[in-house]
Protein backbone atom coordinates (compact mmCIF):
# COMPACT_ATOMS: atom_id res chain seq x y z
CA UNK A 1 0.00 0.00 0.00
CA UNK A 2 1.55 3.25 -1.06
CA UNK A 3 1.18 6.36 0.97
CA UNK A 4 -0.50 8.22 -1.87
CA UNK A 5 -3.31 5.61 -1.97
CA UNK A 6 -3.93 6.11 1.74
CA UNK A 7 -3.93 9.82 1.19
CA UNK A 8 -6.51 9.69 -1.55
CA UNK A 9 -8.72 7.43 0.59
CA UNK A 10 -8.40 9.84 3.45
CA UNK A 11 -9.13 12.72 1.11
CA UNK A 12 -12.32 11.01 -0.03
CA UNK A 13 -13.40 10.55 3.59
CA UNK A 14 -12.72 14.16 4.42
CA UNK A 15 -14.62 15.23 1.30
CA UNK A 16 -17.56 13.07 2.32
CA UNK A 17 -17.58 14.62 5.78
CA UNK A 18 -17.34 18.15 4.44
CA UNK A 19 -20.09 17.63 1.89
CA UNK A 20 -22.40 15.97 4.41
CA UNK A 21 -21.89 18.91 6.76
CA UNK A 22 -22.69 21.24 3.88
CA UNK A 23 -25.81 19.25 3.01
CA UNK A 24 -26.97 19.36 6.63
CA UNK A 25 -26.40 23.13 6.77
CA UNK A 26 -28.33 23.70 3.54
CA UNK A 27 -31.12 21.38 4.68
CA UNK A 28 -31.45 23.28 7.97
CA UNK A 29 -31.61 26.55 6.02
CA UNK A 30 -34.34 25.23 3.71
CA UNK A 31 -36.23 23.73 6.66
CA UNK A 32 -36.21 27.12 8.41
CA UNK A 33 -37.12 29.12 5.31
CA UNK A 34 -40.01 26.80 4.62
CA UNK A 35 -41.46 27.26 8.09
CA UNK A 36 -41.24 31.04 7.62
CA UNK A 37 -43.11 30.92 4.31
CA UNK A 38 -46.81 31.73 4.55
CA UNK A 39 -48.79 28.54 4.31
CA UNK A 40 -52.38 28.47 3.04
CA UNK A 41 -53.07 25.06 4.57
CA UNK A 42 -51.70 23.87 7.90
CA UNK A 43 -49.65 20.66 7.76
CA UNK A 44 -49.06 20.86 4.02
CA UNK A 45 -45.38 21.46 3.45
CA UNK A 46 -43.31 20.73 0.40
CA UNK A 47 -40.42 19.46 2.51
CA UNK A 48 -37.71 21.20 0.52
CA UNK A 49 -35.08 20.02 3.00
CA UNK A 50 -35.53 16.52 1.61
CA UNK A 51 -33.74 17.66 -1.57
CA UNK A 52 -30.50 17.57 0.40
CA UNK A 53 -31.28 14.20 1.97
CA UNK A 54 -31.88 12.82 -1.52
CA UNK A 55 -28.64 14.33 -2.76
CA UNK A 56 -26.79 12.70 0.15
CA UNK A 57 -28.43 9.36 -0.59
CA UNK A 58 -27.52 9.40 -4.26
CA UNK A 59 -23.96 10.55 -3.67
CA UNK A 60 -22.93 8.82 -0.42
CA UNK A 61 -25.47 6.09 0.25
CA UNK A 62 -28.12 5.16 2.81
CA UNK A 63 -26.12 6.04 5.92
CA UNK A 64 -25.60 9.57 4.59
CA UNK A 65 -29.35 9.91 4.02
CA UNK A 66 -30.05 9.17 7.68
CA UNK A 67 -27.26 11.44 8.91
CA UNK A 68 -28.50 14.40 6.85
CA UNK A 69 -32.22 14.09 7.55
CA UNK A 70 -32.04 13.27 11.27
CA UNK A 71 -29.46 16.01 11.89
CA UNK A 72 -31.60 18.40 9.90
CA UNK A 73 -34.69 17.63 11.99
CA UNK A 74 -32.80 17.97 15.29
CA UNK A 75 -30.95 21.17 14.38
CA UNK A 76 -33.90 22.71 12.53
CA UNK A 77 -36.24 22.13 15.49
CA UNK A 78 -33.63 23.48 17.88
CA UNK A 79 -33.35 26.68 15.84
CA UNK A 80 -37.11 27.10 15.58
CA UNK A 81 -37.65 26.32 19.24
CA UNK A 82 -39.89 23.35 18.59
CA UNK A 83 -37.51 20.68 19.90
CA UNK A 84 -39.43 17.91 21.75
CA UNK A 85 -42.78 19.63 21.11
CA UNK A 86 -45.64 17.64 19.49
CA UNK A 87 -44.71 19.27 16.18
CA UNK A 88 -41.19 17.94 16.57
CA UNK A 89 -42.51 14.44 17.20
CA UNK A 90 -44.56 14.68 14.00
CA UNK A 91 -41.50 15.85 12.15
CA UNK A 92 -39.30 13.09 13.55
CA UNK A 93 -41.89 10.36 13.01
CA UNK A 94 -42.45 11.53 9.45
CA UNK A 95 -38.71 11.70 8.88
CA UNK A 96 -38.07 8.19 10.17
CA UNK A 97 -40.90 6.77 8.06
CA UNK A 98 -39.74 8.66 5.00
CA UNK A 99 -36.14 7.55 5.46
CA UNK A 100 -37.14 3.92 5.94
CA UNK A 101 -39.17 3.92 2.73
CA UNK A 102 -36.47 5.77 0.80
CA UNK A 103 -33.73 3.41 2.04
CA UNK A 104 -35.85 0.40 1.18
CA UNK A 105 -36.71 1.67 -2.30
CA UNK A 106 -33.11 2.64 -2.95
CA UNK A 107 -31.81 -0.75 -1.83
CA UNK A 108 -34.43 -2.84 -3.61
CA UNK A 109 -34.24 -1.11 -6.98
CA UNK A 110 -30.76 0.38 -6.78
CA UNK A 111 -30.04 0.30 -10.50
CA UNK A 112 -33.46 1.36 -11.68
CA UNK A 113 -34.87 3.99 -9.33
CA UNK A 114 -34.02 7.67 -9.80
CA UNK A 115 -34.20 10.64 -7.41
CA UNK A 116 -37.82 11.37 -8.31
CA UNK A 117 -38.93 7.81 -7.54
CA UNK A 118 -37.13 7.81 -4.19
CA UNK A 119 -38.45 11.29 -3.42
CA UNK A 120 -42.06 10.26 -4.02
CA UNK A 121 -41.58 7.20 -1.79
CA UNK A 122 -40.14 9.48 0.89
CA UNK A 123 -42.98 11.98 0.64
CA UNK A 124 -45.58 9.21 0.94
CA UNK A 125 -43.70 7.79 3.94
CA UNK A 126 -43.52 11.22 5.51
CA UNK A 127 -47.26 11.96 5.42
CA UNK A 128 -48.13 8.42 6.53
CA UNK A 129 -45.67 8.60 9.42
CA UNK A 130 -46.91 12.03 10.44
CA UNK A 131 -50.54 10.95 10.45
CA UNK A 132 -49.63 7.84 12.42
CA UNK A 133 -47.81 9.89 15.07
CA UNK A 134 -50.61 12.48 15.07
CA UNK A 135 -53.11 9.69 15.63
CA UNK A 136 -51.03 8.03 18.38
CA UNK A 137 -49.91 11.15 20.24
CA UNK A 138 -52.13 14.11 19.46
CA UNK A 139 -55.61 13.18 18.31
CA UNK A 140 -56.68 9.67 19.18
CA UNK A 141 -59.55 9.69 16.74
CA UNK A 142 -59.97 7.46 13.66
CA UNK A 143 -61.46 10.24 11.52
CA UNK A 144 -57.97 11.73 11.25
CA UNK A 145 -57.31 9.06 8.61
CA UNK A 146 -59.85 10.79 6.38
CA UNK A 147 -57.12 13.35 5.74
CA UNK A 148 -54.86 10.68 4.29
CA UNK A 149 -56.04 10.84 0.64
CA UNK A 150 -55.44 14.61 0.53
CA UNK A 151 -52.05 14.17 2.15
CA UNK A 152 -51.09 11.41 -0.27
CA UNK A 153 -52.06 13.52 -3.27
CA UNK A 154 -50.05 16.42 -1.94
CA UNK A 155 -47.13 14.10 -1.20
CA UNK A 156 -47.14 12.84 -4.77
CA UNK A 157 -46.87 16.38 -6.13
CA UNK A 158 -44.31 17.62 -3.61
CA UNK A 159 -42.32 14.40 -4.02
CA UNK A 160 -42.02 15.02 -7.76
CA UNK A 161 -40.95 18.64 -7.18
CA UNK A 162 -38.28 17.67 -4.62
CA UNK A 163 -37.02 14.75 -6.69
CA UNK A 164 -36.70 16.97 -9.72
CA UNK A 165 -34.76 19.57 -7.73
CA UNK A 166 -32.48 16.84 -6.33
CA UNK A 167 -31.88 15.45 -9.83
CA UNK A 168 -30.87 18.89 -11.12
CA UNK A 169 -28.62 19.39 -8.10
CA UNK A 170 -26.97 15.98 -8.54
CA UNK A 171 -26.42 16.57 -12.24
CA UNK A 172 -24.58 19.81 -11.58
CA UNK A 173 -22.70 18.41 -8.55
CA UNK A 174 -21.28 15.53 -10.58
CA UNK A 175 -19.70 18.02 -12.94
CA UNK A 176 -17.52 19.11 -10.04
CA UNK A 177 -14.14 17.31 -9.72
CA UNK A 178 -14.78 16.56 -6.02
CA UNK A 179 -17.42 14.07 -7.09
CA UNK A 180 -15.35 12.50 -9.85
CA UNK A 181 -14.58 9.39 -7.79
CA UNK A 182 -18.18 8.70 -6.93
CA UNK A 183 -20.39 6.36 -8.85
CA UNK A 184 -22.55 8.57 -11.02
CA UNK A 185 -26.18 7.83 -10.29
CA UNK A 186 -28.23 10.49 -11.98
CA UNK A 187 -31.26 9.72 -14.04
CA UNK A 188 -29.36 9.96 -17.32
CA UNK A 189 -26.84 7.32 -16.23
CA UNK A 190 -29.60 5.07 -14.87
CA UNK A 191 -31.37 5.19 -18.20
CA UNK A 192 -28.15 4.13 -19.87
CA UNK A 193 -27.76 1.18 -17.45
CA UNK A 194 -31.33 0.27 -18.04
CA UNK A 195 -30.99 0.22 -21.79
CA UNK A 196 -27.77 -1.79 -21.63
CA UNK A 197 -29.16 -4.46 -19.32
Amino acid sequence: MTSSAVDSQELEQVRRRVFLALFVALAVALHTVEVLLPNPLPWFRIGLANILALTALFSYGIQALWIVSISRILIGSLLLGSLFSPGFLLSLGGGIFANSLMSLGYKLWQNKIGPIGVSVLGALGHVTGQLLIAWLVVIRHPSIWMLLPFFLLFALISGIINGLAADYLLTSLYKHPAFAKLKVTTTASKEKNHLES
Binding site: K112, I113, M146
Partner: protein
Protein backbone atom coordinates in the same frame (compact mmCIF):
# COMPACT_ATOMS: atom_id res chain seq x y z
CA UNK B 1 -42.08 21.41 -24.95
CA UNK B 2 -40.28 22.75 -21.94
CA UNK B 3 -43.21 22.00 -19.66
CA UNK B 4 -42.87 18.25 -20.21
CA UNK B 5 -39.08 18.32 -20.00
CA UNK B 6 -39.20 17.00 -16.44
CA UNK B 7 -40.54 13.67 -17.63
CA UNK B 8 -37.16 13.03 -19.22
CA UNK B 9 -35.67 13.16 -15.73
CA UNK B 10 -37.63 10.07 -14.71
CA UNK B 11 -36.15 6.63 -15.16
CA UNK B 12 -38.39 4.02 -16.74
CA UNK B 13 -38.86 2.53 -13.29
CA UNK B 14 -39.77 5.94 -11.84
CA UNK B 15 -42.52 6.29 -14.41
CA UNK B 16 -44.04 2.94 -13.46
CA UNK B 17 -43.72 3.85 -9.77
CA UNK B 18 -45.49 7.18 -10.34
CA UNK B 19 -48.36 5.45 -12.12
CA UNK B 20 -48.72 2.95 -9.25
CA UNK B 21 -48.66 5.74 -6.66
CA UNK B 22 -51.20 7.80 -8.63
CA UNK B 23 -53.52 4.79 -8.75
CA UNK B 24 -53.10 4.30 -4.98
CA UNK B 25 -53.94 7.96 -4.33
CA UNK B 26 -57.04 7.68 -6.53
CA UNK B 27 -58.08 4.51 -4.67
CA UNK B 28 -57.69 6.24 -1.33
CA UNK B 29 -60.03 9.00 -2.52
CA UNK B 30 -62.55 6.38 -3.64
CA UNK B 31 -62.42 4.78 -0.20
CA UNK B 32 -63.08 8.20 1.31
CA UNK B 33 -66.18 8.69 -0.86
CA UNK B 34 -67.51 5.26 -0.04
CA UNK B 35 -67.56 5.80 3.70
CA UNK B 36 -70.59 4.32 5.32
CA UNK B 37 -73.35 5.98 7.29
CA UNK B 38 -73.03 5.47 10.99
CA UNK B 39 -75.30 3.29 13.09
CA UNK B 40 -75.30 5.00 16.45
CA UNK B 41 -74.36 8.11 18.26
CA UNK B 42 -72.21 8.16 21.36
CA UNK B 43 -71.96 11.14 23.63
CA UNK B 44 -69.06 11.35 26.02
CA UNK B 45 -68.16 13.88 28.65
CA UNK B 46 -64.72 13.87 30.30
CA UNK B 47 -63.89 10.53 28.62
CA UNK B 48 -67.01 8.92 30.05
CA UNK B 49 -69.86 7.77 27.87
CA UNK B 50 -73.01 9.54 29.00
CA UNK B 51 -75.46 8.74 26.23
CA UNK B 52 -75.90 6.29 23.36
CA UNK B 53 -78.69 6.29 20.76
CA UNK B 54 -79.36 4.71 17.36
CA UNK B 55 -79.21 7.14 14.44
CA UNK B 56 -82.20 5.68 12.62
CA UNK B 57 -84.69 6.85 15.21
CA UNK B 58 -85.62 10.53 15.09
CA UNK B 59 -85.52 12.19 18.48
CA UNK B 60 -84.55 15.26 20.41
CA UNK B 61 -82.12 14.77 23.27
CA UNK B 62 -81.19 17.10 26.09
CA UNK B 63 -77.62 16.62 27.26
CA UNK B 64 -76.43 18.03 30.51
CA UNK B 65 -72.96 19.56 30.68
CA UNK B 66 -71.18 21.80 33.21
CA UNK B 67 -72.64 24.93 31.54
CA UNK B 68 -76.17 23.68 31.14
CA UNK B 69 -78.27 21.82 28.63
CA UNK B 70 -77.18 21.19 25.05
CA UNK B 71 -80.00 20.09 22.77
CA UNK B 72 -79.20 17.47 20.16
CA UNK B 73 -81.52 16.65 17.28
CA UNK B 74 -81.39 13.26 15.55
CA UNK B 75 -83.22 13.35 12.25
CA UNK B 76 -83.11 11.06 9.19
CA UNK B 77 -79.81 9.43 10.07
CA UNK B 78 -77.95 12.57 11.02
CA UNK B 79 -77.30 14.36 14.29
CA UNK B 80 -76.82 18.07 14.92
CA UNK B 81 -76.70 20.41 17.87
CA UNK B 82 -79.68 22.78 17.84
CA UNK B 83 -79.02 24.76 20.96
CA UNK B 84 -76.21 25.10 23.43
CA UNK B 85 -75.39 27.31 26.40
CA UNK B 86 -71.80 27.90 25.27
CA UNK B 87 -70.54 31.32 24.16
CA UNK B 88 -69.33 30.75 20.64
CA UNK B 89 -71.82 28.16 19.39
CA UNK B 90 -69.10 26.35 17.45
CA UNK B 91 -70.94 23.08 18.03
CA UNK B 92 -74.06 24.40 16.27
CA UNK B 93 -72.01 25.63 13.35
CA UNK B 94 -70.34 22.21 13.01
CA UNK B 95 -73.52 21.14 11.26
CA UNK B 96 -74.51 17.52 10.76
CA UNK B 97 -72.73 14.32 11.73
CA UNK B 98 -73.80 11.39 9.60
CA UNK B 99 -70.87 9.12 8.70
CA UNK B 100 -68.92 6.72 10.86
CA UNK B 101 -66.20 8.67 12.62
CA UNK B 102 -67.90 12.06 12.28
CA UNK B 103 -67.66 14.22 15.33
CA UNK B 104 -69.49 17.10 16.96
CA UNK B 105 -67.94 18.71 19.97
CA UNK B 106 -68.90 21.39 22.42
CA UNK B 107 -65.67 22.06 24.26
CA UNK B 108 -67.01 24.61 26.80
CA UNK B 109 -69.84 22.29 27.76
CA UNK B 110 -67.49 19.26 27.74
CA UNK B 111 -69.55 17.20 25.32
CA UNK B 112 -68.15 15.10 22.48
CA UNK B 113 -70.61 13.47 20.13
CA UNK B 114 -69.22 10.77 17.83
CA UNK B 115 -70.84 8.55 15.25
CA UNK B 116 -69.92 4.89 15.44
CA UNK B 117 -70.66 1.59 13.81
CA UNK B 118 -72.02 0.93 10.36
CA UNK B 119 -75.64 1.19 9.24
CA UNK B 120 -75.21 -2.03 7.29
CA UNK B 121 -74.45 -3.94 10.49
CA UNK B 122 -76.99 -6.70 11.15
CA UNK B 123 -77.12 -6.03 14.81
CA UNK B 124 -76.68 -2.40 15.74
CA UNK B 125 -76.90 -3.15 19.43
CA UNK B 126 -74.32 -1.51 21.55
CA UNK B 127 -72.42 -4.46 22.92
CA UNK B 128 -68.84 -3.29 23.35
CA UNK B 129 -66.99 -0.17 24.29
CA UNK B 130 -64.26 1.00 21.99
CA UNK B 131 -61.60 3.38 23.13
Amino acid sequence: MKAIGWIKRLTAFDRKLLVVVAVLVALSFLLLLRQSSGARLVVSSDDRIVFVAPLNKDQRVELEGPLGITVLQIESGAARVVSSPCARKVCIRMGEARHTGDLLACVPNKLVITIEGDSTEEDAEYDFIRR
